[in-house]
Symmetry: C2
Subunit: 216 residues, 2 copies
């Protein structure tokens, strides 16, 4: 049995631990994740391990074909591009709506403050607050379904970051400057300009990551 408090159940606990291992990079891609291995690793029965694996397959964290072992999905350049373009679509819509009401998302500003604390440091440390900034913009819409769609994208980004291990990142200064510019434009009601900054912001990250992912 897995350690810790059992709020939900064995299957969810195992799924959570497995997800953390997958997006954290502890499980390298293409390594088979068999039901037996998961069962032994977390000391649960095989059906429980199976259920946890199937849950993650449903979420897209793992991939599997019939009668084959599951494996951590390896993101290629096309997948990275698709993730970032979908991010841009959702986030652009959010920005336009927020700018239309001149509504500045406070949670995004707080995430920016955390990024500012790492000025001059490594960009790896700001992956989390950066994603929190972008998620805050989307969450400001108060739309359960829009946020859910965006969340699955951020998890893929996190997994991608673990895969490239800090290569191809953009300087903290640039990220922070563009974030603040976007917030200013939203507060000023200029949605189109804010969307343009976002397109530049995400487009550059897309290019960098796609290039790095393609060259191991």
């Amino acid at each position: 049995m897995v350690e810790g408090i059992r709020v939900t159940g064995v299957v969810d606990a195992v799924a959570e631990a497995l997800r953390a291992a997958a997006i954290g990079g502890e499980l390298e891609p293409d390594r088979p994740v068999t039901e037996a291995w998961v069962a032994a690793r977390f000391a649960v029965a095989r059906p429980s391990a199976k259920a946890a694996i199937e849950k993650l397959v449903g979420e897209g964290v793992l991939e599997r074909t019939a009668h084959r072992s599951a494996r951590v999905r390896r993101l290629d350049a096309d997948a990275v591009r698709d993730v970032y373009r979908t991010r841009r679509r959702i986030e652009s819509a959010a920005i336009r709506e927020l700018a239309g009401e001149r509504r500045r998302p406070d949670a995004a500003a707080e995430a920016d403050a955390e990024i500012a604390a790492h000025l001059g440091g490594s960009s790896v440390d700001i992956v989390d607050p950066d994603l929190r900034f972008h998620s805050a913009i989307v969450d400001a819409l108060g739309s359960e379904r829009t946020s859910r769609a965006y969340r699955s994208l951020t998890e893929e980004v996190r997994q991608c970051m673990a895969q490239v291990q800090g290569r191809g990142l953009i300087s903290v200064d640039t990220i922070l400057a563009e974030h603040e510019r976007m917030l200013e434009l939203i507060a000023a009601g200029d949605g189109e300009a804010a969307v343009a900054v976002l397109a530049e912001h995400l487009g550059r990250a897309e290019e960098r990551l796609a290039a790095v992912v393609a060259t191991p």
Copy 2:
């Protein structure tokens, strides 16, 4: 065992049949869907029924709390609004991109032709081609993740249609006219105007459905 060809497996077949029953309205909301009932209904073992139910819970078709029976989710006015606003966000982004390249989605025009065949008929018959029209616009982006996000929304719309049973629908003429206007504007490269038509188009449907769902 469920009838038909087993391409994938028992669990997927049962899940598919259950999903069809849920979004088709055969399973009314709030009616408990127990594992034992599903197992008996499709002549499978309880673990298989359990897996199928959990798959649908993961997709959001069914909802369940611990140790309680699963049930078909009942959509309320807030849920309908959230679905339609999220649809608008994704579809607006798609329209802007397509209009930017003056790229007219052919599959959407084909769906419109099918709608035209029902002119003067009941709006219930065009639910499918109407959703196909909108999906075609999104699918024209060629983005796996964007399409997947939109697909889950269309399934919720379908379920909602089964729930309201044809009340509060909009005339076929109006729908078709707005569809064709959107395609024209996309081909002309006027994305903003096309988005405005879409907002009107979906906004009206949102209001109608939300009102109908709220009054049983």
